[in-house]
Amino acid sequence: MMNSPLMPIIIPFAFAILLMFAPKQLRFQRAGALVGAILTVAASIWLLQKVHIDGIQVVTFGSWPVPYGITMVSDMVSILFVLTSSIITLFTIWYSFRTIGIAREQFFYYPGVLLMLVGVNGAFTTGDIFNLFVFFEVLLMASYLLSVLGGEKIQFRESIKYILVNVVSSALFVITVAMLYSVVGTLNMADIAQKVSDVNQPGILTAIAILFLVVFGLKAAIFPLFFWLPSSYSGPPIPVLALFGALLTKVGVYAITRTFTLFFTGDIAFTHTVLLYLSVATIVAGCIGALAVWDVKKIIIYNIIIAVGVILYGVATYNDTGLLGSMFYVVHDMLIKAALFFLVGIIVYITGQTNLKKMGGLMKRYPSLGWLYLIAAFSLAGIPPLSGFIGKMLLVKGGFEAEQFASGIWILLSSLIVLLSVIRIFVYAFWGKEQQLPPVKKTVYWQIWIPTAILVLLTVAYGVGADALMPYMTQAAEVLANPQLYIDAVKGGK
């Protein structure tokens, strides 16, 4: 079918509209959201195979010739992001049944989640820089709703800051697109890439590159611009937090990856060196935060920032190995972050609080949860058979190939700090003296344990089965390393 790249965007959109007709019907809401997410995952897997076999898929709206109409492009990079996002949304919806609360479920929670998936998948798929802005706004609007839904005091306070930061960064995005348009005279990403290489990167393009870095860096939470993230993310409830932590920053990461491999390759000595230093500084900032806090939610939130730095490090080294490592690491990170937030959510549910100092001795009563958490923690740090290992190894190798020895060694050392920061939760919450626990329903505990366990097993399978995924990842890294492949696919198509 011609319009296959649109499927992961249209399916959740249709279901979100459908769900809005009967917000108070609990069973309809849950079933509709679940079916919508499953169909989106199925469509993404089908599209993944199609891209793998037939190459890059391109759709142009209204069949306008390429630089004039809006194009949607599904290459290996974007479809891997789309598939991972859809899987995480599916698990989040499942996990929400018992955790989010009926009041939220009956007030457009599921349409909000699905509409956010529309924006996220659209941002990953679009081939037009202004259309990227529009999809950013779609996902941001849904995220505003999710972050404030429920109306607790802390949610109001943090949502205001979150919205303000994003409104300013959106204005900056529009300004940057306008400047890019005045220099190259086009908005189609493939067309921009071609025109940029024709004009041989004068100073103005380097300035625009840095502006884009600021705009997307605000979304992705890179070093000087991450200030808003820890407090904004501590407002919303756990399932929303998992969704934000796994998806929203990664949209910024994807946008940086796309623009810095497609457009701004003329002055790598400057732009990518800036990116390298920023990614290392991001990891430092995240590590300091993750070690300093005693709130279990915040420890994982600071780990989001560390991961953003690690992924962008691969883009900054800009060689085949580094880019391959980035692709491996980003999919791993999205899955494991969602899993860790789910696990922390269970810990918060059974202890009734987020302060690590007041927890202890959970291992005796909840051994399966303890083991699950330990696997997830090792996986995040990158202990060999688990999923973080392969990505990090390739990233460090890429760093050494680019002769960035100090930063490569720092990536390795940061893994130890990551391990320390998450193992603290294990040591303090699961070992130690048993604390008085509030009464919890065992059935609810098992109902949220099951999706969490499946997601953790999925990350284990991702690590153990890395060999089977190698062809897909290599294909993705190839597109990133050779922008010409992308340009030819878009401009050669209809």
């Binding site: 109001f156 919205i163 300013v168 204005a171 529009v174």
Partner: protein, 115 residues
């Protein structure tokens, strides 16, 4: 013409930043409105000013005198989006005022310590 526009846009940004840095939530929202107006003016200027013929092929109209239709489409999209966001932001500010009993951003900072 471009010079004049540069000053107008610069003034809008200056006013917007001044308002966003103030403490009252309502002023901050007005500031974000001005910021997006500045951005829209910037798009219009970046498309090139001065040519005013409709961008339709007709006898006797040179290509160079046609207005660029794309920035106008972009601005229209951006206006609609900023309208939606501002409306949402205003409602949020009102609800937050009801719950938190303040519209002073200074009193909303920091973390709540439950110990």
């Amino acid at each position: 013409m471009e010079i004049l526009m540069a000053f107008v846009i610069g003034f809008l940004f200056f006013a917007a930043i001044y308002l966003i840095l103030s403490k009252s939530l309502l002023r901050i929202i007005i500031g974000t409105g001005l910021l997006s107006h500045g951005a829209h003016m910037l798009i219009l200027t970046m498309g090139g000013l001065g040519s005013d013929a409709p961008p339709v092929l007709a006898d006797g109209v040179a290509n160079s005198s046609m207005a660029d239709p794309l920035p106008q489409a972009l601005i229209l999209t951006a206006i609609v989006i900023s309208f939606g966001v501002t409306a949402f932001f205003l409602v949020l500010a009102y609800r937050a005022y009801q719950e938190l009993k303040t519209d002073n951003i200074d009193e909303m900072r920091g973390e709540e310590h439950d110990e």
